[in-house]
Point group: C2
Chain length 348, copies 2
């Protein structure tokens, strides 16, 4: 019996290491091993009570924080660990992009279940650090804590900007035209595709949901060219973004239903579900595109942004003195206005 037992033990595959098998120090070492050498402006990096950095001369600092919570913002069943890391940083980069800032550093606060496989933890870091490197963003510090429940990745980002280039939400005036970058609806359709097909989910929509590309470069070009009177990102969908920009600016908006740049694969998906394609596209979140308000006389500057970024910008509507936000369908002869639906309610 004894030797048979030993045989069984030898034959069994070694259990996959989970986070609880490692000390906090070992986990931090695994993060540090993946980081490039710190830049000159990082006076004290990871490993002390706090990081110390030199501010950039003649620049203001742009700060934002955003958390990705398992079971709320992602589902481990169909979100590969590298996509979790990518998305956690992407949502923050999108906030910097919406201000027109240049990314500089981030702090990672990771609240992780002890049963999470170490291999998944490393893959998550890969996704996160690959995106960080692409945007020349350095990890200045962070924190590790055990979670008795969901996995939470909370990231604080810091970027820089010149004072006169800040793109706020509140600068739009009646008559300003509204533009959106790229296409909408893809991530919402992708989430549904993934939910239905599980981890096998592929195609343009699933990819857009899993690996969103924050519009950092375009945001910087908008800021440098002072092309926009107001800017906001589409984290919670276009409808929500229009409401937020309109409210902050004290204007209303008419959005042209026919002009919406709905991602073709998403349009197909929503049509197959017999859904109202426009409604689904404007309420779907996670697109991380930018919504811009542009003075009519700044159109030429916006054209330069499009040319230099290579990213399409679609005129989707106009700001109005009348405070309502409406979605307009049909031609001039047969116009029909619908109120723009509200945004995503995080607690309701």
């Amino acid at each position: 019996m004894k030797s048979a037992d030993r045989g069984t033990l030898r034959a069994a595959a070694p259990p996959a290491a989970v986070l609880a098998d490692l000390s906090e120090r070992e986990l931090i070492a695994r993060i540090q091993r993946r980081l490039p050498s710190p830049p000159d402006w990082m006076t004290v990096g990871i490993g002390d009570d706090a990081a110390v950095v030199e501010p950039e001369r003649n620049r203001l600092e742009v700060l934002s924080v955003d958390a990705l919570v398992e079971g709320v913002h992602f589902d481990r069943a169909f979100t590969p660990p590298d996509a979790i890391g990518h998305r956690a940083l992407a949502v923050n980069l999108s906030d910097l992009a919406a201000m027109g800032a240049t990314p500089r550093l981030c702090l990672l606060s990771l609240v992780l279940p002890g049963g999470w496989p170490v291999a998944d933890f490393e893959a998550m870091l890969d996704g996160l650090l690959t995106l960080a490197a692409r945007h020349r963003m350095h990890v200045a510090g962070g924190n590790l804590a055990r979670s008795p429940g969901p996995l939470v990745i909370d990231i604080t980002v810091s970027g820089t900007i010149k004072r006169r280039q800040i793109a706020r939400r509140s600068g739009a005036s009646p008559g300003d035209e509204l533009y959106v970058t790229g296409s909408i609806g893809a991530a919402a359709a992708g989430l549904e595709v993934l939910r239905e097909t599980g981890a096998a989910g592929e195609g343009p929509c699933a990819t857009r949901y899993l690996y969103p590309e924050p519009r950092v470069r375009l945001g910087q070009l908008v800021a440098r060219n002072r092309a926009a009177s107001a800017c906001v990102d589409l984290s919670d969908g276009l409808a929500d973004a229009v409401h937020r920009l309109a409210e902050a600016s004290g204007v209303g908006a008419i959005i042209d239903d026919d002009a919406l740049p709905v991602e073709p694969a998403a349009r197909d998906w929503f049509s197959r579900q017999s859904s109202d394609v426009s409604m689904r596209a404007v309420t779907g979140g996670d697109d991380y595109e930018l919504l811009l308000a542009v003075r009519p006389r700044a159109r030429r500057r916006l054209a330069q942004v499009t040319r230099h970024s290579g990213i399409p910008l679609t005129r989707i509507g106009v700001c109005t003195a009348e405070r309502a936000v409406v979605l307009r369908c049909g031609s001039d002869n047969e116009q029909r206005d619908r109120p723009m639906p509200g945004g995503y309610g995080h607690f309701r």
Copy 2:
């Protein structure tokens, strides 16, 4: 029956509002209502995609992040909501204190269960914002997310410091004396008192656990007087702090057991449990005192820090060239060295 039903409905107390009853916007408004007017250097505050702040001239920026997780760092059964808010900020202020920094701003990332009473949310904010105001720290931004599990309060803090005043972990040399602020063991004893007696827990130890006072002013005085060669805070206990300081500095340490400033009420508590008082005091976390390494010739500067801060500093040991970290008991004739236990393992 109908009128009786109505009577019952009228008589019943209205259900306590929970977070899920409110929209994210309403919750943010409740935070904003409590904030003082933003300082001049905050160019864009709460309500845009990101905050924009002016760096302080001729200062470096000190950044840290720390999360408080329900079920890991606190238990709602005996931690009142205002103490949750207080502690969440205090642990971060303690990191700034350990660097010698002056607090400036924070970002609040709140991951909250939908069933949390709104009144508790407001009390948590009270505790947090009262401590923030005391340290002239401004809320620059944040994020709200729903939690499907534990309550998580993640705070990023930013402070400022002059380059030559930074108090790192790594500056200690053999022969430097080790000092600790205030007293130790109180929070660990307090946590046990609270666990045994529940919400009724009172007394100095419970208070120290619930409302720790980060040594911000003392840390700044240490930095300005350049009184310490190295500094670290005691978030995970004195034993852990000595190990971290020694390792970062490449030294060992001998800690004098008899010199440990164990809080008298904690000493009583541990004695009644028939515990090894010193072991309990050095391994107990949550004290948020500071451990300083001080060159013998800087003793006078340290005396000035004590005088100006009003906080006692106790000499507890010395740094050694020999890398071991030991706890030394007994007199010169009968010395007994024990290895200093390891720190708190967050994942093990």
